[in-house]
């Protein structure tokens, strides 16, 4: 099905869509930004989300959704250009700076974002946030990883297993 109007935001008044978070907050964004979500893209192409309708997102709360949309709005222009070809080095550097700052947030928010990005299938956001969490794990000892992720302290039995594993794969701890 064809889009009802040229909705990619390149000709004057961009088409807007409304997204509704789990706690019933309405967010109005450009269709091009919301279309970074593979999940929403089809609905939007079908002409959904406009006017008073709105697209309900029962799995995403308003705090998370606003963060997600912040990402989408920033990345939409580059995505519309098909990524790199038209982007200048300055644009790319600016996006990179934005990304770095964007993930400089509490762990709990990171996790909410991973869930949301996964559900909404926003590939760039998924890898951005997952990479951040992976970076939190990298280079740490098993005990440090547990602490970082807020696991309870290991039982003596678990500790013994941990030690045995570390002994077996000694090179990984050098």
């Amino acid at each position: 099905m064809a889009a009802p109007e040229s909705g990619d935001g390149n000709n004057g008044a961009a088409r807007m869509v409304t997204l509704i978070s789990s706690d019933n907050t309405r967010f109005e964004v450009e269709a091009a930004a919301a279309s970074l979500s593979q999940t929403l893209q089809l609905t939007i192409l079908d002409g959904g989300g406009g006017g008073g309708d709105g697209i309900p997102l029962p799995n995403v709360d308003s705090a998370t959704l606003s963060k997600v949309l912040e990402y989408c709005i920033k990345h939409a222009p580059a995505a519309a250009n098909g990524g790199a070809p038209n982007a200048t080095a300055v644009d790319r550097a600016e996006l990179e700076r934005f990304d770095n700052e964007f993930v400089n947030i509490d762990q709990s928010v990171l996790y909410s974002l991973i869930m949301a990005a996964h559900n909404l299938e926003i590939e760039g956001l998924q890898s951005l946030v997952a990479k951040k969490v992976a970076d939190m794990i990298k280079g740490k000892s098993p005990m440090e990883i547990r602490r970082t992720l807020g696991f309870p302290d290991p039982t003596p039995e678990e500790q013994a297993e941990m030690n045995a594993h570390m002994l077996e794969y000694g090179w990984a701890y050098e």
């Binding site: 991973i114 996964h118 990479k131 992976a134 990298k138 740490k140 297993e161 594993h165 077996e168 990984a172």
Partner: protein, 216 residues
């Protein structure tokens, strides 16, 4: 938006297990991946499951693993060194099938985790036709063939788990050296030594199953 139902979280994991695995653990380099195996029991299972290992492997950057001296001799992969010269006969999902031509035996090497295990069955005289993941059983298998005698080429290949099936000409050689009991004995003497990489043998003389499992 389908996967949020799978909220069967691992103990204290801040995300659903499958999501944590699919999104985060696969992005870790091999060293950190191994360390994660020590974090807790559920992670140990998570990080050593065969499908995870394949997904993890596919995300790893490409880099040289093996280079040959004089075009033939080689004793070291990127991370594992051997006493004997070998050639690489096949690879699959990041695992290398090595043939040590001086001592006439095979080993399977995982350069990512620096693990290596001898193939505990004499495959001498067989040519390797393939090394692959048999998807329905989840086993890694070696497919080989052998000349019946020097003047007479008879490809003999097997697939299928319980009853080995001859794909080529129906000429199977079974002698003492390659008998099922000999293989079984060899198998039993070795499996206790290597947790994580467990080799399961087929009934027939030339087939070897490798299963990547948790620490058993």
């Amino acid at each position: 938006m389908t996967k949020t139902s799978a909220l069967a979280a691992v103990d204290a994991l801040p995300l659903p297990e499958d999501l944590f695995q699919a999104e985060i653990l696969v992005r870790l380099p091999a060293k950190d991946h191994l360390r994660c195996g020590a974090v807790c029991r559920s992670w140990r299972g998570l990080t050593s499951a065969a499908d995870f290992l394949v997904a993890h492997h596919r995300r790893q950057p490409s880099r040289p693993i093996v280079s040959y001296d004089y075009g033939y001799r080689c004793t070291t992969t990127a991370t594992v060194t051997y006493d004997n010269d070998f050639v690489v006969r096949a690879s699959c999902d990041g695992l290398l099938l090595l043939f040590f031509y001086n001592i006439w035996c095979f080993a399977i090497c995982n350069p990512g985790t620096r693990q290596s295990i001898d193939v505990p069955v004499n495959l001498g005289g067989f040519d390797v036709a393939g090394f692959y993941l048999h998807s329905s059983s989840g086993e890694y298998r070696i497919l080989g063939w052998k000349k019946k005698n020097y003047n007479d080429e008879h490809p003999v290949c097997y697939s299928s788990s319980k009853k080995p099936r001859c794909i080529g000409l129906p000429s199977i050689l079974i002698d003492d050296e390659h008998s099922p009991t000999g293989i079984a004995a060899s198998f039993a003497s070795r499996t206790g030594l290597r947790p994580w990489l467990v080799v399961l043998l087929a009934l027939m003389h030339m087939k070897v199953y490798i299963r990547l499992t948790g620490s058993e």
